[in-house]
Point group: C2
Chain length 293, copies 2
């Protein structure tokens, strides 16, 4: 409605592309915004309402038709595997690339991907059917050495290894090599949380605490607060309240009801509670630049 | 690709709207072209390849969310019922309008709807999985009377009833009331055939014989004739050959491979065989005006 599409987000970290939800029409939008779909290594589905996953079967089929070879991992709730199986059975499709399905569960936080540079977890949301949010957390990598200082002092290989890991090291000569002196400051670790569909729920705060960017649904304006409760959705003000209490950096609002053609009032309601609120716009990139402490 | 959407057509007859196939994104397109979806009384799905039905679940869900009350009849192949059931089970959806599923079968022609003004049938196509085309045939309605003539001659009610049915009638006075004299000529009955995905197959000719408008897939150009055979699709020339041999009025080409950004050469290939060939364009209405004999 109003030209707005169903939920789908590409989360990019370095060369890795993750797709968060995949509403109907996502493959079209990915083309439109020139996302290289072959780079998508994992897809995360929050729940089995049509506006969050009905584009998945088409996307997986298109990967097949375009002869994808890269493996794909799909994370999603119970039932999604059955749905895919029945579609592919009736269309006589045997995917030409390896697809791994990993079940999420909606009772507690779970780490889904734990890689050297980041982790990606699911956590429970409060919706009519089992639903999870997703949390991306950057991890500290090796510290980078201040080259000139290292050369000047002719440090040993062992010293360099310890310094990179962030540990001070005592050379056999007795001389201490301090992390502070020989390495650059670490950039601030970045984080992103995605809350697709959920009622206002304070139990989310621990999962969201201090994230740099929080996407939170804001289906309704305050006048429809009762309807938000009934449908397990949130108002813009509720999303902002959660952002405020979880002390996030920026709040990105989305999943707007089709009753709103124009969204500036909805944004104003959120900003009255949490000033650093934005409307999510289709095709727009929201960057989290590196900041050094 | 190239901004082209997956297959979906609205066939309108008077106040009745039929939806033929429902690829991903169809609900979006229906909105875009301002089709009143509440008027769609029946949906016909030709086969279970994603580009022909993956918009169906979203459309049926949207009907539910918009509190549709009108009954809907869905015609489609074996498996479609299972697919819908599993989607609605996992999204905990109990549709708020009556949905009737009618199985099509791909071995012979079958009348699916037989109404006073028209009939709608399915017939087998030649594709990788069970697939049917659909044939719409207008039926003769009651003849319309030439009012002045009727008044002038003060015909009886019985005479009028017979004349409307196209029967001459003898009044008790012995006077003959002739259909030719008292009624307008019947308009030519119109027909439309829809061949979604099919290999070139001469066995289709009897189903398509003399239709006013034939939609036939034309996935490939002649240079890819081998690929057309391998994938159970048709070239533009093959579609045109069928149109010529079935003596149809107009051929509407569609389902173009995404390898073709530009379609004028494909059209030219069809027109070299059957001059009355057109490219189907998104959002465009192809009217079959009434013609009197």
């Amino acid at each position: 409605m109003h030209g707005r599409n169903h939920t789908a987000q590409v989360l990019r970290f370095g060369q890795e592309f993750f797709l968060l939800d995949c509403g109907e029409g996502t493959q079209h939008q990915l083309q439109r915004f020139k996302i290289k779909t072959s780079k998508i290594s994992s897809i995360f589905i929050s729940h089995l309402h049509g506006d969050h996953y009905l584009g998945l079967i088409g996307l997986l089929s298109s990967f097949h038709l375009s002869k994808r070879t890269q493996p794909l991992t799909l994370f999603g709730p119970k039932g999604l595997d059955d749905i895919l199986t029945i579609h592919f059975r009736w269309s006589h499709t045997q995917l030409c690339y390896p697809l791994t399905f990993v079940l999420t569960q909606d009772q507690e936080k779970r780490i889904l991907l734990d890689q050297p540079g980041y982790s990606l977890s699911s956590f429970p949301l409060s919706h009519r059917i089992p639903t999870t949010g997703f949390l991306f957390q950057e991890k500290a990598g090796p510290r980078s050495l201040i080259k000139e200082k290292v050369m000047e002092n002719a440090l040993s290989v062992e010293a360099l290894q310890h310094l990179r890991r962030g540990e001070d090291y005592q050379e056999s000569s007795g001389k201490w090599c301090r992390v502070k002196e020989f390495t650059h400051p670490l950039p601030k670790l970045r984080s992103y949380a995605f809350c697709s569909d959920t009622a206002f729920d304070e139990r989310l705060i621990p999962y969201l605490q201090g994230v740099d960017l929080l996407y939170h649904e804001a289906t309704f304006m305050d006048a429809e607060a009762k309807r938000a409760v009934d449908t397990y959705h949130s108002t813009a003000k509720q999303a902002a309240t959660l952002a405020l209490r979880a002390e996030v950096g920026t709040l990105l609002l989305g999943h707007f009801s089709s009753r709103y053609a124009e969204l500036s009032n909805l944004l104003a309601e959120a900003q009255s509670v949490f000033s650093n609120s934005l409307l999510s716009e289709e095709g727009k990139t929201y960057a989290l630049p590196l900041h050094h402490e």
